[in-house]
Symmetry: C2
Subunit: 362 residues, 2 copies
Amino acid sequence: MNPQRRPLGPDATIGILGGGQLGRMLVLAAARLGFRCHVLCPDSHSPAFDVVRSVTEADYLDMAALDRFAADVDVVTYEFENVPAETATFLSARKPVLPDPKVLAITQDRFTEKEFVTGLGIGTAKFARVDSAGGLVAALAIVGKPAVLKTRRFGYDGKGQIMIRDGADPTMFDELGGQAQILEAFVPFEREISVVAARGRDGAIESFDVIENEHKDHILKTSRVPANVSPAVAAEARRIAEEIAKAFDYVGVLAVEMFVVKDGAGHAVLVNEIAPRVHNSGHWTIDGASVSQFEQHIRAVAGLPLGKPIRRGRIEMTNLIGDDVKDMPKWLATPGAAVHLYGKSAVRPGRKMGHVTQVFAE
Amino acid sequence: MNPQRRPLGPDATIGILGGGQLGRMLVLAAARLGFRCHVLCPDSHSPAFDVVRSVTEADYLDMAALDRFAADVDVVTYEFENVPAETATFLSARKPVLPDPKVLAITQDRFTEKEFVTGLGIGTAKFARVDSAGGLVAALAIVGKPAVLKTRRFGYDGKGQIMIRDGADPTMFDELGGQAQILEAFVPFEREISVVAARGRDGAIESFDVIENEHKDHILKTSRVPANVSPAVAAEARRIAEEIAKAFDYVGVLAVEMFVVKDGAGHAVLVNEIAPRVHNSGHWTIDGASVSQFEQHIRAVAGLPLGKPIRRGRIEMTNLIGDDVKDMPKWLATPGAAVHLYGKSAVRPGRKMGHVTQVFAE
């Protein structure tokens, strides 16, 4: 019997790669449903380690540790998209890995990701690959100005990117480490939105309402739901996320970040990034919806039916970044505010310490 | 500095005595707020052990284990009222124990509990102590018939009690083990209700809306909120719970189970039982209120301000008892139903396996 086709029983253990706050919240959601988790992470101070009994503190490429980890779990999932391909391949040979590692291969590389998206007929910013310092000029001719030069792999929160306003300077390529890069047209967006969608093993899809995101210093600061967009834009955004999930034959939760741009009398929706995992912009679902993104992900990888998310009102989710955590007393005293801290003791600028969700009557 | 007067910091560890589903849900609530927990329980299969990294599997009277446990935690709380007095005393000498162990001494004994309640001028069923087989007849003369003979200590879910309808039979005393007993008048109640109230270290009190409870075979089956009682009865029920919390100088969450009885044209509210802990009838607060009973308890023992509970709608909470857990697929597919399983692998009749909360528009 194919273990992927049988729902996990109450004795099952879900293996999670990565022990940050996303892993932590996945563990908490799994616990609600009665599942045990086993978290593998190289960092001994992983927030997820505090809420789980089975822990493997090991590098993602420590094959002996991965072997023991695989033996202890019934299914493997992950909280971050930069799981090394070798890790995913090694684990796949032992236990089901969901979402399928082929999704990682595509989404770990900004260029292959954008090719995948445009291949589905879905719009993105203009883009071109940049493989050398000299190639930057040619790419700029295709993409136009202003544009953003980014490493193809391992960039996040604005790291690994350079804005090009005036002209290309060949040293920019070296500034980003001389690795494979992508040049993307800068999008004069009206607003940034995201859709968090879940897809079950049976192919059923449930996407949450469209989220509007506000970034500060390239880090998500506030998410509001519903996004202030027309019904047509909202429908298009959900259609895009669901089409991507289908094209991946995805199992679990994924988030698609999009730009809304003016397009004549109407608007166009362009995909910015795909996150093959639960996503910061979906944290509001813990308190603001009848089923959270974390529980949907656990339901999906466990082979259980997805929940039907019912939104509880108008939502505002605020990240507590670095010193924002000092506002805890204010938030704890705010009626209706749901306060979440991730158990991180060291406060650092730009570090996500927790978040607060407020639900207002609509 | 008195550690009880300082809120716990983000590095703090909360010690929990007892590893059942209540301990498990306390751990999950503490985790939301960034706190670590350490659970002590003699049972290696404790549901709470799966969601916490620090575990002590030891008897409550294993003083060496208690000593190590106390050294690892910043505050001690408990999920059940039958914590042995020696345990509470031993731990109190090392770390703050909240709620204060004097509350345990009173609530572990049905007779002292009822004397405490009536001493506050709050009504209960008529009751009398029974210290011998012969004393039963005298007690019955005071209390009247029908009546219920109960052990003073360690009874729960209908265990350790005998209904007396017709006449007293001296063998009944021996049937309950010959230990100290209490005879209580049977209350022809119109409905059973409970109030779950939280009291902070600062003395602030927040009680949840009045809950109406339906039992089956002496085990809670369904809780509905709000209870179908008049505003006057609801106010009286909350007043009673809050007065008891104040009289105990209580810190944490407590539940008061009450009977509503016809009293002429109106109704009287009689206290049945006090649970100095989070309570099954308050499980709906996880999904049905802006702050749960578990988080309120953690906030209180951590010295944080209590939340202001906002109810999200009309609530129905259903316990999954024994084979009820087979209804899981139905509940998982019910829109808006929040399903909780406690991670218990062995299904036994009468065993609480999980619960489901449904929130309906009011």
